[in-house]
């Protein structure tokens, strides 16, 4: 109010303000509209907080933080609800859920965390976001090398990193190991998604475990020299590139083949038909596998149900479902893989404790940066 000389400033301001309020509606259309929007906005905020409060409740509901897409886990949740009557709420995001869980601390509504890639699981464990679980069902169902020694996370399904080769252009037996990919004879014929994707990073970690950092770097240098194009696309796109004749050899996850081969879209079935899947390193350490897995949130108010949910996922019905829904392998050795997956044949898998892959991941990323994969 400085700058205006009035006898009784307070009174005067009040009068002006009242006058303003009275006339706002008539004189100015745009601000009114803005005002209405503002009102709507604050209403939305308020109802949002109410919503938040209603989401946080214990009892016959389970809250899930998932790195897996909703349409992939939906069948499992439906089966769980059908069996137990417990409803499952999901938040799905591909990145940053660990930070969210951490920031929420003990107020977090989350009960269970589900993710793909061992690296992510290990990060949750490292940040102390997962509670140790003692469950005879889980330790029996999940082999020791596929779970945390402290019981904080458990593998729930497996996928293999396989080599896809062109059916027509690559003679049988020409490629048998990951190491072959660095052979100059494949110069300009290899396709891959970028090295820093979790699947390739995990494979790189397994190469480091097998050959040491220097050996793995030499391998990656050879592989990069053989690339037909700048690394790009997802695993699906690599199969497509084989179909297009752009490359003869590619690295993919096994379930991509299953999905393409049984796709509703004719064109995608044609991509799958143009390739053959090779499970590498059958004569030595076995094929590199990665897992999807889960754990119980440290501050879950519902730990019993959370453990029951994980147990449910390792039992026969759910383990089979991993195969039928997403062409993954069961972790529970007592359960047979789904027929579509079984048709690919048995193979030897790398029995390296899966936690090593997570431990080596940062080193693997450095090698990937150095070699420009």
């Amino acid at each position: 109010m400085r700058g205006i000389a009035v006898a009784a400033p307070g009174e005067r301001t009040a009068r002006v303000r009242r006058g303003v309020l009275a006339r706002v509606g008539a004189a100015m259309r745009p601000p009114t509209r803005v005002g209405a929007l503002g009102l709507l906005g604050s209403l939305a905020v308020l109802s949002g907080f109410a919503w938040a409060a209603s989401g946080v409740q214990a009892g016959d509901e389970l809250n899930l933080y998932s790195h897996r897409q909703p349409f992939l886990i939906e069948p499992f949740l439906e089966a769980f609800t059908a069996e137990t009557g417990i409803r499952v709420n999901v938040v799905y995001a591909s990145k940053g859920l660990a930070q969210r869980l951490q920031a929420e601390g003990k107020n977090s509504p989350a009960d269970v965390v589900l993710t793909v890639d061992i690296g992510r699981l290990a990060i949750y464990a490292d940040k102390d976001l997962l509670a140790p679980v003692e469950s005879a069902v889980l330790t029996e169902a999940v082999p020791a090398h596929l779970r945390d020694p402290d019981g904080r996370w458990f593998a729930l399904s497996k996928r293999a990193r396989v080599i896809a080769v062109s059916k027509d252009r690559v003679p049988p037996g020409a490629i048998q190991n990951y190491e072959n990919l660095a052979d100059p004879k494949w110069a300009g014929l290899v396709c891959s998604r970028p090295g820093s994707h979790v699947y390739n990073r995990a494979l790189m970690a397994s190469m480091i475990a097998a050959h040491g950092e220097d050996g793995a770097e030499k391998w990656a240098t050879g592989l990069v020299a053989n690339l037909a194009r700048r690394p790009q696309g997802n695993d699906r796109a690599q199969v497509k590139a084989i179909y297009e004749g752009l490359c003869d050899v590619a690295l993919i996850n096994s379930y991509y083949y299953g999905k393409l081969a049984s796709s509703d879209i004719e064109e995608q079935r044609a991509w799958a038909a143009s390739m053959k899947m090779i499970f590498p390193n059958q004569d030595d350490r076995g094929t590199h596998i990665n897992i999807s897995g889960g754990g119980v949130a440290m501050h879950s108010k519902n730990k019993e149900t959370a453990v029951a949910f994980l147990e449910f996922l390792t039992r026969e019905a759910a383990q089979e479902l991993y195969g039928t829904v997403n062409y993954e392998f069961p972790v529970n050795l007592a359960v047979e893989a789904a027929p579509a997956v079984r048709a690919w044949g048995a193979f030897e898998e790398d029995s390296l404790p899966i936690v090593r892959i997570a431990e080596l991941a940062p080193t693997a990323q450095r090698v990937i940066d150095r070699t420009g994969w």
């Binding site: 409060a53 799905y92 509504p109 297009e244």
Partner: protein
Amino acid sequence: MAAPILSVIAAATGDSEGLWAHLFSTVLPRYVANTLALMAGVGGLSLVLGVSTAWVVTRYEFPGRRVLEWMLVLPFAVPAYLIAYVYTDFLDYAGPVQGALRDAFGWQTRRDYWFPEIRSMWGAIVVMGAVLYPYVYMMARTAFKLTPHTLFEIARVHDRGLFRTVGLPLARPAIAAGLALVLMETVSDFGTVDYFALETLTLGIFNVWLGMNSLPAAAQIASLGFLFVIAMLVLELMSRRRRRYVDTGRRMRSLARLRAGPAQVAACLAVCLLPVTVGFLIPVGLLLSFVVKGYALPDYGDVLTVALNSVVVALAVAALVMAAAALMVVTVAYRPSRPLTALAGIASSGYAFPGTILAIGVVTFAGAVDRGLDGLISGMMGLSFEGFLTGGIGLVLFACMVRFQAIGYGALASGVNRLPRNIVSAGRVLGLSLPANLVRVILPLLGTSFLAGGLLVFVDVMKELPMTLLLRPFGFDTLATHLYQYAKDELLEQAAVPALLIVFAGTGPVILMNEALRRLGEGRAGSR
């Protein structure tokens, strides 16, 4: 509102354990070079497309102008990552374009001919430029329209080019504001560069964060990108430091349009149709063709609920952003103080951070507040307290507000700076306090800027993905998150319906508000 941004910067002060030495010697130079190239390319393309189309529709009268005037805004409703997916599908080897070429020329394999690779730097520049130029277009068009015709007449008397001597120089602050938004979005984009596998700073942020498990180093790289943008803005401000842009014309009438001759009509149409076609007609057509082919989703009911969520969130954020922007702009313009100005600057620069990184800033901040409140409440009343801020839809709104504040602020600031300063002094002489001045004098004069800013924010929130994805409460989906679960796996066919809904939900308001803008502009010119 600066708090989440400051919390990212605080994270950047953490120990990155010597990662920088490794990054410097390996990937960082490439990240920086690619980011600069992308900024230059997208910025340049947006300038050319945005300014030329804005000039053409304000300067010339030609058949279809009124339709094109709003159609030019439409590409803005298409998310950049979506158009990237669609064009890749359209232009790559198995796509219809190359297929037709092969049939026509009898080529057999990929090695028989050369075709530009869409997943490349130029592809990213075209794709992002095609959907981001409307920022420049909207800002420039408003500025051209508001430039008094008397100034153009002076130029005409002196036989100078109207565009070069009057139009462009006077629209410069507005164009710069539009360009700033384009650049911020370019720096922070993740979806497109990830899909095209371009190694920019954003991709580097995620490799470092998720691959090397170092959030501090990731936050440091993010701050680097942020610095790029700030540096550009400061340069622009410095270069026009000594000039002020104020409308003094009393009778505001826009430049009368020239009736275009046949050759000019063709040129005008070509200039305007090119961006509309590339940025809107082709991608939407392709998406529609997926739906027609029947690859769409069966659960339309779900999609509609989800669409409603999107619209409500977008409306709320638009209103909140514009209200906050009004407060900030007016405070900075009429009660200037250094710390306040700086704070407003920081608060409106969230747009330069990748959404996910900003979301982490938001959730960290909210978590700290929650813990503080929790301690307070349980200390005082012995009650346990469930999270208040985290995990609610309020957090999504807050995050979007922080991120898109730049847009609201930019739109209003360029409007406020055109107002003569003495308008406020006049109000004061008449006995109005500053708040009263704000409501009665300034806001009515800023009506157009308000609508333009609100519209931009609305459409941007409709498209927003990474923050909603991470911060939303249980069971809450927007069109963008719904679309993402399919798009992530390149299941474009299943993604088509939600994608089209995003585009159309953005299109309606764009048309409506554009109409409102037009009427407002004309009404104003006529009533005085």
